[in-house]
Amino acid sequence: MFKLNVNGKVHQVDVETDMPLLWVLRDHIGLPGTKYGCGIAVCGACTVHVDGAAVRSCSVPVSAVVGKKVLTIEGLGQGGLHKLQASWIAQQVPQCGYCQSGMLMAAAALLKEKPRPTDADIDQAMTNLCRCGTYARVRAAIHAAADIADTATGVKRSAS
């Protein structure tokens, strides 16, 4: 039995020590926003934050996050929209959208570390794979969000 802190809530899960965090989130805690794409930490669709850092949850055993704070796409906006989510809507970033939870979590970790990232910073941090071709809009949306003051909530849910 593991006690996990996910999006500020404590969950008790009775799973194997080596079950990847991804599947604990999706199938045992009921947070399917985090996606399975490759299972080998290449594509980044499963990106979540562990103690504020972006990690690929398909390759992190549940036992490794006990006592740490896990943040998923469902918790990113803290009840509203994170400024990146608002920027994603304004720039109309997603196509199919499947990789976008991971993209957003990677971008959120990047902005925490570098509030005004350069293109080179984005190239280095954003190694998530997208099959639809949203990269140019991802970049534009990160830059646009970097220009917005940090307010995690209160952004109106509409596109401009």
Binding site: G30, G33, C38, P94, Q95, C96, Y135
Partner: protein
């Protein structure tokens, strides 16, 4: 909304709370919750408070049809766009109502262009009926009334009624027979870059995908298929997992094995521990080399059927002062949708089957589900989820539905979510066909192109998936695209087709036949170089006045600054392509490092699709086509060894990363009078434009892809 769906929503709501696995239909729920809505016609549902729900028959995989079709309906309905939303039409209802929504197929860039006529008429019909209903209530002639912005106005008295106030009466009226559609120059909602309806849910992690489905008591299935295509299961020893945690069942079918468990990870772990014996059949020794030999044998066949014959090619080639020849080839390619194939199925106690899946054709999914279940189609519902990528993988082949339903059939009463691992998905696709093409051109003494002979050896997609679409000579038009309909005015043309199918399943991969655009447009570049001619001038000289290919080519030449100096080390290539109803021309700017690394820096593309319903989603599609095509140009191939696909995941089937995305500049130049698509247009010209630029940069003529197999280091 049928009764089953309504009951289900109640069940889901009751389960919410303690264990947060309830599942919501963000779109369907809207219609279910409020019974007061009125269906004015099959496409248009209006609420008393004037909200309008447009029913969408096609699927949504990020291409924007879910929003664009609503724009077309709302344009003719003339309602307040802020009050419009979409929901998917129910495949079950579609069958019960005699296919009332037309085609549900979402491929071939058809979503908007093949629905636009009837959805616009549906919007207009609803507007006319609402107007008549208001006129009847006022007891005035309908001609004295106008409808706009969701409001009917009686001109003389200035009385007004909202659509929501008269929808109930309107629905009882006869549908009008005479409908005049608006001229596109008068469009107010169509033609605008309105935000897509599906995006907010996709950035907040809402469970909109098939992989996200959660149902009460649901189990999970992982699948392994015979690694050699066409092989069969011999036996399974499951003793190693008899004590494994959470395992509920091992399902044995003729060509796959599934483990059902209480979590997908447990199911997949157990699957790896099974001892499975397969009968690989006759294909266990097939390889990329045997397949290439099969295709080359096809090219040598003296008795091939002809897909096109104009003039007398043998005579013209014999009389030519110069003959130029080249052979080009392409590998198999997987779609590699980011969401692996998945299907959830639930055989309910009342004999009804519910299916949730990512499908490009809800009707085809319904048919396969019903057939697999042994149920009439009326007893099956398919819930169309948002697709985590499609690209042609989830349309004609419904293998994932067949599997999902077969697994759930072994677990009656329990919903089971079947999900493929990435490895299964990579190795069990319906691949873009590998092909080999030989082109031979004859040039006269003045350097004019007088003959072109093309021989195509390529497996047939239609033979596998839509055999009725082959013509009577056995020509698959997807295999000879760009040649049998080549726009260049060459007086003598012959196109021969060698259908050589092999055992690897082939399918519609974004812009089927697009490898032929690579071959043709690179070969035309070879001819331009041989003629010492500018590649754009060379093409223009071969295109008739008035040909729409000319307009896009001239537009892209201007926008790209063709002829202007480029920064040091940057080189240009150009290509044109028409397909999927649209005309496209593209210029790619490329640099090649001394180490041979190709960097595609800028892509300028001009597209004439006749009309543009949502310019922003059209631009997004162009960007998407460029990235999707770029992976195939730089890195991707699926090789065959021992009868099976070699590549297994994204480490050896590489996708470009963000830093590799070129700057894409899209010029939308709609000329009207026809409806073209955007889902595939911009991929067609990409490979030749890039490879022609690589030639300009290196002097090396690339005749096969991907580029990673070529040594492009500067000599």
């Amino acid at each position: 909304m049928n009764a089953d769906r309504r009951d289900f929503l109640k069940v889901s709501a009751a389960l919410g709370g303690a264990f947060a696995l309830e599942f919501s239909f963000p779109w369907a729920a809207r219609a279910a919750v409020e019974a007061a809505a009125t269906e004015v016609n099959a496409w248009v549902v209006i609420y008393p408070d004037d909200r309008v729900v447009v029913r969408i028959a096609r699927s949504e995989m990020g291409q924007g049809t879910y929003t664009a079709l609503a724009q077309l309906v709302a344009e003719e309905l003339d309602c307040d766009w802020a009050k419009v939303s979409s929901e998917f039409a129910s495949p079950n209802e579609h069958v019960r109502r005699k296919r009332i929504w037309g085609s549900m197929s979402t491929g071939g860039s058809q979503g908007v262009r093949s629905s636009q006529d009837y959805v616009r008429k549906a919007g207009a019909a609803a507007r006319i009926m609402l107007t008549r209903a208001a006129a009847a209530r006022w007891n005035v002639p309908p001609a004295e009334c106008t409808a706009a912005q969701g409001m009917i106005t009686h001109g003389a008295s200035q009385r007004k009624l909202r659509y929501g106030e008269v929808a109930g009466e309107a629905a009882k009226l006869e549908a009008p027979t005479e409908i005049v559609l608006r001229d596109s120059k008068d469009w107010k909602i169509a033609g605008q870059p309105v935000p897509r309806f599906d995006i907010p849910d996709k950035v907040t992690g809402k469970p909109v995908f098939a992989i996200d489905v959660a149902l009460p008591g649901m189990l999970f299935a992982a699948v392994v298929q015979c690694p050699v295509f066409g092989g069969k299961l011999k036996r399974v020893d499951s003793s190693a997992i008899s004590k494994a945690r959470g395992i509920r069942k091992v399902v044995r079918e003729s060509d796959f094995v599934a483990v059902v468990a209480d979590s997908w990870w447990r199911a997949n772990q157990a699957l790896q521990k099974l001892k499975i014996e397969w009968d690989f059949g006759s294909n266990g020794a097939a390889s990329s080399e045997t397949i290439a030999a099969m295709l080359r044998d096809g090219l040598a066949d003296p008795a091939l059927p002809r897909a096109r014959r104009v003039g007398d090619v043998p005579a013209a080639l014999a009389a030519a002062s110069k003959v130029i020849e080249a052979e080009y080839s392409s590998p198999y390619l997987n779609h590699a949708t980011m969401e692996p194939q998945t299907c959830t199925a639930w055989f309910k106690a009342d004999g009804f089957l519910e299916v949730w899946t990512a499908t490009q054709n809800g009707e085809a999914s319904l048919a396969v589900a019903a057939e697999t279940a042994g149920l009439p189609q009326e007893s099956v519902e398919v819930h169309k989820m948002m697709l985590g990528g499609g690209f042609g993988r989830r349309g004609a082949p419904q293998d994932f539905v067949r599997q999902g339903v077969a697994i759930a059939k072994a677990m009656p009463g329990t919903p089971v979510k079947m999900l493929w691992s990435r490895e299964e998905d990579m190795q069990h696709g319906y691949y873009r066909p590998a092909s080999v093409v030989r082109m031979k051109a004859g040039v006269d003494a003045q350097g004019k192109l007088i003959a072109m002979h093309t021989r195509v050896a390529c497996p047939s997609i239609l033979k596998v998936l839509v055999p009725a679409s082959l013509n009577k000579e056995g020509i698959d038009f997807t295999a000879v695209r760009a040649f049998h309909d080549m726009p260049y005015t060459v007086p003598n043309q012959q196109v021969d087709y060698a259908m050589r199918n092999g055992h690897v399943p082939v399918g519609f991969w974004r812009a089927p036949g697009q490898q032929n655009s690579f071959y043709r447009e690179c070969f035309i570049d070879e001819l331009a170089v041989a003629a010492n001619s500018d590649p754009i001038a060379y093409r223009l000289a071969l295109l008739k006045e008035g040909d729409k290919n000319r307009l896009v080519l001239e537009a892209v030449a201007k926008a790209s600054g063709w002829g202007n100096p480029l920064p040091p080390g940057v080189h240009r290539g150009v290509a044109i392509a028409d397909g999927f109803g649209s005309f496209t021309a593209m210029v790619a700017e490329v640099s090649v490092s001394p180490q041979g690394t190709v960097d595609v820096k800028r892509v300028v593309v001009a597209i004439d699709s006749g009309y543009v319903v949502n310019p922003d989603t059209c631009r997004a599609q162009a960007e998407g086509n460029v990235l999707f095509g770029l992976g195939a140009i730089l890195y991707q191939e699926n090789n065959v060894k021992d009868g099976r696909i070699v590549e297994s995941n994204f480490h050896n089937f590489r996708l470009p990363q963000i830093g590799e995305m070129p700057k894409v500049e899209t010029l939308l130049v709609p000329t009207g009078g026809f409806w073209g698509g955007h889902g595939e247009a911009a991929i067609l010209a990409l490979a030749p434009a890039v490879c022609n630029a690589v030639f300009a940069a290196t002097g090396q003529r690339v005749r096969s892809l991907p580029l990673k197999n070529h040594d492009l280091r500067l000599a």
